[in-house]
Structures are given as C-alpha cells and as structure tokens.
Amino acid sequence: MSPDRTSVSRTLVPDPVAIRIEELRKSFGDLVVLDGVSLDILQGKTTAILGPSGCGKSVLLKHIVGLLRPDSGHVWIDGIDMAIATPEEKLQVRKRFGMLFQHGALFEDLTAGENIAFPLRYHTRLTAAQRRARAQEVLELVEMPELHDRPTSALSGGQRKRVALARAIVLEPQVVLFDEPNSGLDPMTSTTIDDLILRMKERLGITFVVITHDIVQAVRISDWVGMLWQGRLVAYAPLPVFLHSEHPIVRRFLSRTL
C-alpha cells in the first residue's frame, strides 16, 4: 500500500514538534502491529489517529509513553528516545504527560476526588486540604463539581471518562493522550467529551493526541489527522487536507465503508 501524498513529511511541518515518531515497528509473535510508522505531533495542536479496531492505534499510544518497547524505531520527546529511555528518563517525560485510558483506569477503592488528587500526592508538596481543593477545581473544569466524594464504583461511563480526564490534567501536563475517549458512550455524552477537549485546548494550550475510530470526533476536535491501516500510517495531514485525501483507505473510512 503506497502512502498517500498527504502522508507525513517533516519538511512540511512548520510548528514546534512535541513528539517525533520515526520508523516505529512492533510485532507480537508473527503479528505485525506497527510497520514503520513515522509522524510528527505538533505542540499545542490536537492530533487524531484514526483507524479501525486492531490496526495498532493503542499500541502506538503505549509506545509514546514508553509502556511498550518497539522492535525498532524511535519516539523522541524533548530529546529523549522513549524506545531506549532509562526508567529515570521515562519518569521525567511522564511527569509532563497525562493519559486518559479507554476504560478510565480509575482506582475502584478511591472516590472520584481521591482519584484526581492521586498524582498530586506523589508529585507535589500540597497538603491534603490543598489537594482536595485542586481536585475540586479540576472537577469543575470537567463540569462535574458534585462528584468529589462519590465512590468510583458509583460513576456512570461518561462520569468515569470525565473523572479520568480530570486526573489526566490535574498536574497541568504539556501533552494529554486519549485512548478512544468516546468508546462506550452515547452520542450526547460523546459530544460533551469532545466539547471538553476543545475547551481545555483553548484554556490550557495542551497538546492532545487522540486515538479514535470515530471520524465525527476526529473532525470536531482535530487540527491534524492520521490514518493507521494494518500497522502503517497511510495518511497524515492537517484536517482540511485529510478530508480531501484521495487515498482509497481514507475515502472508505470517511464514507464509513470499512
């Protein structure tokens, strides 16, 4: 499959690069999941990586934060190659990252507020009262101020996503990664999550990377869009260019025939 003419080309990218991915390859046994993926993720922009289930989107995201080690290739963040980074270097990078996992990954034995305050306890010198106040402040940002003392097990799917989002941004990270933020949500809640991402981008100027199979979401929130197909990035371009891509896989995805 030849790459689309809108595929990534670093020379076309004028903005500062937050994350540079070079020729990333990863296999699990005989299954090739990522097959030479390269792209630059720009600072302060929202980048969506689209693709059908099982195309390697989540695996790509886990490489960015160093949860997986590639077979070959590089993930450059602030001069650190996450592919070969030491545990200390990974910690250094991760302190500037937030991540919203597909199912929230909230700690079930804590309340919503305790989940949000959790990173503050280990990365700041805030007192318990200050951590509580900060958690409440972030809950208000995600428009769920009433959830602070609610047990995590009593949260709905949409509420869990928002609490997880609040936890992801509580340390004011420079980059926030989203793994399928709308999966399992009804269309109205999905729209609310999209609106939150847009508002946070405006207010906080964070770089967002969104892994999704939802083309509607990608169109609503993204500045740049990439298309992963069978482990390869077949297209990567600013949203308006991507929407007019002639690549057959992109056309099929846009017309929802995949």
Partner: protein, 245 residues
C-alpha cells in the same frame, strides 16, 4: 511458558522489586496498613486452626506413645512437631490462602483494567507502589502470627493433654521446654520471614503477569496460591535441615 524464559522473566521481576524498594522512600505508613490488614484478616481463622492442630497433636501423640507406655513424651512431641514444623508452615499456608490470593487477584484486576499502566504513566513506580508495602507488611506480620500460632497450639495441646487425656501437666511442660529453646522461636521467625517473602513475591508476580479477562485473573490467583504453598512446603524442609538439623 518454557522454563528458561520464565525464570529470566521472574529474575527481572525480582530485580525490579529490589531496585524499586531501595531507590524510593520506604512506604512506612502503607506497610503498617498492610501488616494490620493481613494480620486482622488472617488471625481469626489462624486461631481456630491452631487450636485444633494443637488438640490433634496431643491426641495423636498420646495415641502413638501409649503403645509403648511413653505418654510422658507428648509434650516433647507437641513441641518438636508443633512449634518447629506445624506452626510456621500452617501460618504460611493460611496467609498464602487469604492474603496471597488477595494480592494476586487485586494486582491481576489492576493489570487487566490498565490501572498499572496508569500508575506508570502518572510516573509512579508500580513495583514500589503495589509490591513494597505488601512485602514489608507481610514480613512484619508473618513472624508475629507464627508466634501467636505457636502459643495457641501449645496451650490447646496442653489443655487437651490434662483435661481429656489425663496426662500430667507438669510433665507435659517439662518435656516441652526441655526440647525447645528460645533459639527455636528465633528459627521459626526466620522461617516465617522467608515464607512471607516467598508468598508475597509469587503472589504479586502472578498478579503482574496475569492474562486477560476473568479467566486470566482466576488462573493467576490459582497459580499464586499453589506455587506459594508448594514453595513454602519445600522451603520448610530445607530450612528445618539447615536450622534444626
């Protein structure tokens, strides 16, 4: 999983626990919470089992020694078998069954729900956060539980010996104290310490390496308790040879 890669993986896991424990602040508060939780959870069932193991040792000892008219040695038998062997391995089995399975299943659920990945992304060392407090907690509490079990077992054996079997209490205690010494209790504490280490490391290892889904959690929990119990039984023999042999 073939043997060598499995051992290599386990070795890396052990190395990571050691590194994470020594390179981070000691989680004293959380370790005490774990110790309290493991102790409180295990104590009632441990007391019940200790009482009845003690009574059975007396009854069986008396039954065996009566054939050669040597019932006076029941106290010695209880001390040797109960204190040196039964109590440490019994406490280890109880704690493996209660606390070990809890550790394995909790960590396995956290693994499949991506909570361990979330800890890593939040720049919190999951080995330090999840394993170090559990390890310190079990190392603190297992020797204490073993001492409680020894005391309970001997008292119940003594009670049955004098009330049900009609043996002389003074002779029982004389025989028991003649064959066990303070160092025996220290050796029992050493055994308990080693068993605690084994139970915690194996339980956490199986939790960390759990497969996906409910069946993965079930298999991890099962493997944890089986491996811990078998390892403790083997180690009990080796340690007895080393310490009492």
């Amino acid at each position: 999983m073939s043997l060598l890669p499995g051992l290599a993986r386990f070795g890396r896991f052990l190395g990571q626990i050691v590194w994470s424990t020594v390179s981070n602040p000691l989680p004293v508060g959380r370790a005490l919470e774990e110790a309290h939780r493991i102790g409180v959870n295990s104590l009632p069932i441990l007391l019940v089992v200790s009482v009845f193991v003690g009574t059975n040792l007396s009854v069986q000892g008396a039954s065996a020694f009566s054939t050669i008219h040597a019932e006076r040695y029941v106290g010695m038998f209880v001390a040797l078998a109960g204190v040196r062997e039964m109590a440490p391995i019994m406490v280890a089995s109880m704690v493996a069954a209660k606390a070990g399975t809890e550790m394995a299943s909790q960590i396995a659920v956290m693994r499949i729900q991506e909570q361990i990945d979330a800890l890593e992304v939040m720049a919190i060392d999951p080995y330090w956060f999840l394993i170090t407090p559990r390890l310190l907690g079990i190392l603190l509490v297992l020797p204490a539980l073993t001492m409680i079990s020894i005391f309970t077992l001997v008292v119940s054996a003594y009670g049955v010996a004098i009330t049900q079997l009609g043996l002389d209490g003074h002779t029982f205690l004389e025989q028991a104290t003649a064959t066990t010494h303070a160092m025996d209790l220290v050796y029992c504490a050493v055994k308990a310490f080693v068993f605690g280490l084994v139970i915690c490391v194996l339980s956490c290892y199986h939790g960390f390496t759990s497969g996906a889904g409910a069946s993965g959690v079930g298999r991890a929990t099962n493997a944890a308790v089986v491996m811990a119990a078998v390892s403790c039984a083997i180690l009990n023999y080796l340690l007895s040879e080393l310490l009492f042999g």
